[in-house]
Symmetry: C2
Subunit: 152 residues, 2 copies
């Protein structure tokens, strides 16, 4: 009675469904990472560094969707515990390239396998075509949300 007026029907809203999926996925990841003593942001940071070594604090923050201040706190802890290393001085500019240590790599290996199992479970009922379509759809949503009015 109000969906066409001003309300947002939560039962069919893709935004709501997106939030729900993200919430359930996060809970599932936390469940498998907890036994390894790792949080989701913790893991995301290591995974990002494995694939793109030398990322700076700010770049890691953008890649894990937190502020650079939060990432800074995390990186200091990871460095203190020997999972990553950063040079004392920046080779260029102010950005400090971060790299995994052997210990960080070992820790990531276990976490990555656990997270992969969660993703496999999440996709278990979907065909390759459906997964590919989902990727295209999500990328379209991101693109539309990032552009205020026009689209190029």
């Amino acid at each position: 009675m109000s969906q066409d007026d001003a309300g947002v029907d939560l039962g069919t809203s893709l935004g709501y469904l997106l939030k729900e999926t993200s919430s359930v996925l996060r809970a599932a990841m936390e469940a498998v990472l907890r036994p390894l003593g790792m949080t989701v942001t913790h893991y995301s940071c290591l995974e990002l560094l494995a694939q793109r070594p030398g990322l700076s604090n700010s770049e890691l923050a953008r890649g894990t969707f937190v502020t650079r201040q939060s990432m800074n706190v995390l990186l200091q802890a990871l460095e203190r515990d020997g999972y990553v290393t950063r040079p004392a001085e920046a080779p260029v500019g102010k950005a400090l390239p971060t790299r995994l240590t052997p210990r960080g790599r070992r820790s990531l290996a276990k976490a990555s396998a656990a997270v992969r199992s969660v993703e496999v479970r999440m996709l278990s009922g979907l065909t390759e075509a459906e997964q590919s379509a989902a990727r295209t759809t999500l990328r379209s949503m991101i693109r539309s949300l990032r552009e205020p009015e026009e689209e190029g």
Copy 2:
């Protein structure tokens, strides 16, 4: 070199893409709700109450993906500011049915229109069929993640 070993390729991972989409959507919602003096959880609570009046604290918490403790804090603020009302005593059990006040309804109307515009923008590049397929896919993911092993 490691995607098939233990790594999760963030460039194609649906989980990562899901998190990114959710993050961008949340930022867009915050941007339009901030001028109205409302947070996303604040809005979600009111929207939920508009569609399903009489929800309890715990039910609202589940519907907005926060703990019942967090929702309790929010509800106390909303009640104090006159957006919702709760009976002093529970009609049955301990659950207190919450309802929007006229003021809450007015406040929601503006917020709902703003959020709807964000969702419209998000879906602007998608056909109805693509949106429907996305809903089906997301629901499948949620279902798979919630069931430990079997699926019925």
